[in-house]
Amino acid sequence: MRVVKNKKWRLGVPRALFYYYYGPWWEAFFQTLGVEVVVSPPTGKEIMDVGVSLAVAEACLPVKVYYGHAAWLAPQVDALLVPRLVSVEKKGFICPKLMGLPDMLRAALKPCPPIIDTTVNLARQPEKGLAAAVQGMAGAIGVKGRVVEQAVAAATNRYRSWNDWQQGYNLDAAAGGDDRPAARVDTSSSGEAPGSSAGKIAPTLPGSSGGQPGGESSPLVGVIGHSYLIDDRYLGMDIPAKIARLGGKVILPENLVAAQMETACRQLPKRIYWTLGWKIMGAALHLMEQEEVAGLIHLTAFGCGPDSLVGDLAERYARRRGKPFLLVTLDEHSGTAGLDTRLEAFMDMLRRRRPA
């Protein structure tokens, strides 16, 4: 891509896939560098339909939705931010599709705006990889020097406070305080922060519910799956809210701290080399060992490679422990009525298993 210096960039960031993990970081980083960041609107029917029509049929639904967001942004931005996420931690990978995403978009979008496809590979040398990725992204818009360091600092700050806010309930429980870090997060600059939709449903950690006695009438349900499914209310069919409406309480993987998942994953025979699969398995194992958690719902997309193995293992472990486990597979044909019925039945079953 040709680098034009001192240009006021309009950079499109699709609100899909890893936006739900690193959105705040990206936004803060590019905003500090003087870039106008345009985030696509939350997924809707139109975006999904466009994505489904552009992508190959065999791709998984989140990738198709990503195509839709990118296509929405394409006509109105100077460039699209589609980092090539190979690995975000040592010895961990994301998924082959994320590694090829920039190339896949280039083949599908006509016309396709320039794509900032900086490779992010932290698999071997995390520090070096991260520095290279930062330099690559800044270099793509023709910026270098001290301002980049400032941008990284700002991005890291925003990312940390957002992360803390997601895990807020854990920290609350530990400190006994009521000062939610959420208050510190500045979300006004970019509209809605990712994950805020999920944050609306109060997650309740086992043991921290305090004055509310017993979980007989409102069973605690662990909803596990990729954030880009759970937090995308259209794509993920808003399952946490549905559970809440059915009188259940929800706990999500984001509400757990890494240490809890790490500990839970130690019982596995081999490290799961997908970063997200590892997270999901860690959350599943941790939650299925909590007495208070009545059951687990695994939300996955049809065609998700890592989930097909990780989810199956999680289900086997849950079955051995006698913990109810519901697998919900999403595709573009998912109907609300069918899902509602399954969720109702699952919640009824959870209540019946726990007599008052």
Partner: protein, 360 residues
């Protein structure tokens, strides 16, 4: 200890001699059949990719013949194959099928992990083990050599099926070959027999390259014998992936100076990064086939195969830029013969039509 291993095309020829070389009693799983697939599908996760299911079927069928230990390869991502062993182990446990598993994979911390596994399996002096490995390698090269000969012959032979019959005999001869001399003799005799097969008067031939995920490319059960089908439709098939090359690339880490894959040279600008599995090679090989003037390319992949979906997604750009027709076929337990045959015939018709158009 009776060891078995998963099937992948003619890999059994190699693994058998290698494992016997270190003094193990080997149970070669029965050749893959519909029953293998059905057994695997019954117990494997529904949306897992096809090789996992077929391999599981191999293990269950080998169990019936008394195998008690599985030797297989693993990996460290991002393709799913690296976690096959763990998932299969849990499945086997849940259905009370008792197996010990020895999984060879890139060491996590130290090379001693691999050495310990070899030590655990080894029953003989190491020289004999090395001899077995060398013999296995020679058999792999011999099979590839003969198979390419058969691929060339299939569309040309006067009565279809003759070349394949000879090839089956050659496999048996190679299996029983105990030294280099016997392998060479088998290759020589087979080549002579193949050369004597009557050919038909020249018919217009098409040349089609096959790319894709290695298991679906090499295993005739899951690709429903696609090479034979294409051969009888008058198509000369050339593959990008071979057993010996795969062994060299993956097990010997490209140590031997063979013509390997160089997707980093051919795949860009269409696909600029490794994507796990053989996705990058699929794109690179397609470009290479186009440059060599092939008439078309068929990409094979198990349904939901992540690397091949990436390759499939960029194929339209390759087709536009290189002007080569590409057909992607996803295979799973539902793939029917009639459907596949129809698609192949239509593709071949289209290629013939295009070739005639270009000739004018």
């Amino acid at each position: 200890m009776k060891v078995t291993f998963p099937h992948m095309g003619h890999l059994w020829l190699v693994l058998k001699v290698v494992l016997e070389g270190i003094g193990l009693e080997v149970v070669v799983p029965p050749p893959c059949t519909r029953r293998t697939l059905e057994l695997g599908v019954r117990h494997a996760p529904e949306s897992a990719c096809l090789p996992l299911k077929v391999n599981l079927g191999n293990f269950l069928e080998a169990k019936e013949q008394g195998a008690d230990t599985i030797v297989m390869a693993g990996g460290v991502g991002p393709c799913r194959i690296g976690y096959y062993a763990q998932v299969q182990q849990e499945i086997l446990r849940d259905i009370n099928c008792d197996y010990e598993m020895v999984v060879f994979e890139p060491p996590d911390a130290h090379f001693s992990e691999v050495r310990d596994k070899v030590k655990y399996l080894n029953r003989r002096p190491w020289q004999e083990g090395v001899h077995g490995v060398i013999l296995g390698w020679q058999k792999a090269c011999a099979v590839d050599d003969l198979e390419q000969e058969v691929q060339r012959l299939r569309p040309r032979e006067a009565s279809p099926g003759q070349a394949d019959a000879v090839f089956q005999q050659a496999l048996a001869a190679l299996d029983s070959a105990a030294n280099r001399k016997a392998i060479k003799r088998a290759v020589k005799e087979t080549k002579a027999t193949l050369a004597a097969i009557p050919r038909q008067a020249d018919a217009p031939l098409l040349r089609v390259g096959i790319v894709g995920e290695i298991y679906t490319v090499l295993e005739p059960l899951v690709n429903l014998n696609i090479e034979k089908r294409l051969g009888s439709l008058g198509v000369e098939v050339v593959r990008g992936l071979f057993l010996s090359r795969w062994i060299n690339d993956n097990l010997f880490k490209g140590l031997l100076p063979l013509p390997g894959h160089h997707p980093e040279k051919t795949a860009p600008p269409f696909l600029n990064h490794f994507v796990g599995g053989h996705g990058w090679e699929s794109v690179g090989d397609t470009v290479a086939f186009a440059r060599q003037g092939y008439d078309g390319v068929i990409q094979l992949a198990p349904l939901t195969c992540m690397p091949e979906i990436v390759a499939h997604s960029v194929m339209p750009a390759v087709q536009r830029a290189q002007g080569i027709p590409v057909m992607t076929i996803y295979l799973d337990e539902q793939t029917g013969e009639a459907g596949l045959q129809t698609r192949l015939e239509a593709f071949v018709d289209m290629l013939h039509w295009q070739k005639r158009k270009r000739a004018i």
